[in-house]
Symmetry: C2
Subunit: 327 residues, 2 copies
């Protein structure tokens, strides 16, 4: 394992310290918990919380700020946070408007958030949650699809509506509508290594790739011979387009790097995406390209398509001022 770190046991703490130091005008840490909050919480808006295991940086703490999240809770790498810090986060951001938790669909994350939400409700806190499940690679999984990079669109759109002072019911509804209209799928040409284990999450030969990876270093649903960028991208787009009818619709596109993918490659992928969507009579409203939800230093990418309507477009375009996304 070759990494620029200190003690593997300190990775989560040191990166959070490093993040808060860089963003100290905008965010703060809750005690010594791995909980990042907006420095100036606005009590007159629904508070949004997301979280999950670390290793997906800039998700989720990079999205704490105006127009997106109020709080992010980080577990250890690829491990759900415990219910207690999530409960403490809810307590910290609670206000008369209520709290919405945005949870990615993984058994651990769902259990953690449900437990914390039960604890909060016992204290009379008005808190709801939505579960993001956008990964079409896992459509046949027992626990349902995984939540992956589409989660960022949920942060963006629910976050923008929340800033208007909308009530909890409306913010939850638009988050849910975003979830229903978003689909993602990913691939990798190299794995990642959890610092504490020191072992690569899978092994691939020089001519192999994983299709349908998750964001926790897991191998994909299929191992195949590597193809060229256009062929790989077509394969992934076909899975997404077969899953939801985007024809004649406007979409927001996200080409997401998994952590170690050079921007050059994401741009080459995008070059095909633009032409292929056009050929399929899908109108591209906007395209985001970058590392939005990663798996440490995995090399690969995911594509996310969000079907937009006029209201979603409005909140997609609204101002955001966070470390990882500014509008």
């Amino acid at each position: 394992m070759k990494k620029i770190i200190n003690n593997p046991a300190d990775v989560e703490n040191e990166m959070i310290e490093g993040f808060v130091a860089a963003q100290k005008e905008k965010v703060k840490r809750l005690g010594n918990l791995n909980v990042i909050l907006r420095k100036n919480l606005n009590p007159n808006k629904v508070a949004l919380i997301s979280g999950g295991g670390s290793g997906h940086e800039p998700a989720h703490f990079g999205y704490v700020g105006f127009g997106m999240l109020d709080c992010a809770v980080a577990g250890s790498i690829f491990t759900s946070p415990a219910a207690l810090p999530v409960f403490k986060a809810i307590e910290e951001v609670k206000n008369k408007k209520g709290v919405l938790c945005i949870v990615k669909n993984y058994s651990g994350d769902v259990m953690t958030f449900e437990t914390a939400i039960d604890m909060a409700k016992d204290e009379g806190i008005n808190v709801e949650y939505v579960i993001v499940a956008d990964d079409v690679a896992t459509q046949n999984s027992e626990i349902g699809r995984r939540g992956v990079a589409g989660t960022i669109f949920v942060h963006k759109i629910a976050g923008a509506l929340a800033e208007t002072g909308a009530d909890l019911k409306s913010v939850k509804e638009i988050a849910q509508r975003t979830i229903e209209n978003v689909r993602s799928m990913g691939m990798a040409i190299s794995p990642c290594t959890i610092p504490a284990s020191g072992v690569a999450s899978f092994e691939l030969s020089e001519d192999e790739m994983e299709i349908g990876i998750g964001i926790h270093g897991e191998a994909g649903i299929k191992r195949e011979k590597i193809l060229n960028a256009d062929e790989i991208t077509k394969k992934i787009l076909d899975e997404i387009l077969n899953d939801l009818n985007y024809k004649n619709q406007e979409v927001a596109v996200m080409i997401n790097g998994m952590g170690a993918t050079p921007l050059m490659e994401l741009l080459i992928v995008n070059n095909f995406v633009q032409k292929y969507l056009e050929k399929n009579e899908i109108k591209i409203y906007d395209t985001m390209i970058g590392n939005y939800m990663t798996s440490i230093e995995m090399s690969g990418f995911s594509i996310t398509l969000l079907k937009l309507d006029e209201e979603l477009k409005k909140y997609y375009d609204a101002a955001a001022d966070t470390f990882a996304l500014k509008k």
Copy 2:
């Protein structure tokens, strides 16, 4: 070589197509040249051009937009563009206010820009240039220090002053002042591979690192046993702090990923940077963390420190709206 590309010969063209497609409201391409322009050029401001070899994405085309560059010219990977496209770029953006070229200090880039500028002057175009030379690792080199990530600060500050309608002399002066106050140094734990060659730019064992790398895949000035993040960061900071007196000054910090470095590691580096600068009585005005000037998929980072004064702070903070940097 394992990459997500099509034909290696098409990499530059396809990535530029992919970039322009994603940013089509804001940028355009000049014919089929690797020249990216703002879509709506403002004839009432000094036009800023930068460029150099490809492989450093998002530099430089990611900085074309309000508050930064008007135009970027890309060569082949790690290869200076020819003088002709640079000349055509100058011709395209020229206006009554004049043109400033921001050139990184490499023999090829300097020769290209000087030739193009001579051609432009022969046509009566009012064009000047500055040379960025911020890399303290190469202070003893014959051609002088290399220009690396500090170039982004020159784009930002000269770009902001240019937006105010300032004259060419003033814009060149502030660019020069930024150059005089900026220092960088980098390291890598893994090399990169130029698609057309297919061969890694250097080889390192599992326990080695390169200190003092450039941005063209070259090895560093020293190969050493890998250290932990804090030790590596201290080593780099000491070189920078020995080179320019930052004591009791305010600085902008850039922790720049070389392409494949996970954000997690950049944040861990920043955690030490913040503490070490404070200990050295240097005041951090702002910190930027991300992939600003890369070497394809090299894994490593560079640190840049810009000593600020009140005027530089004003233009550092001014609005910018580009793919890679928004303020």
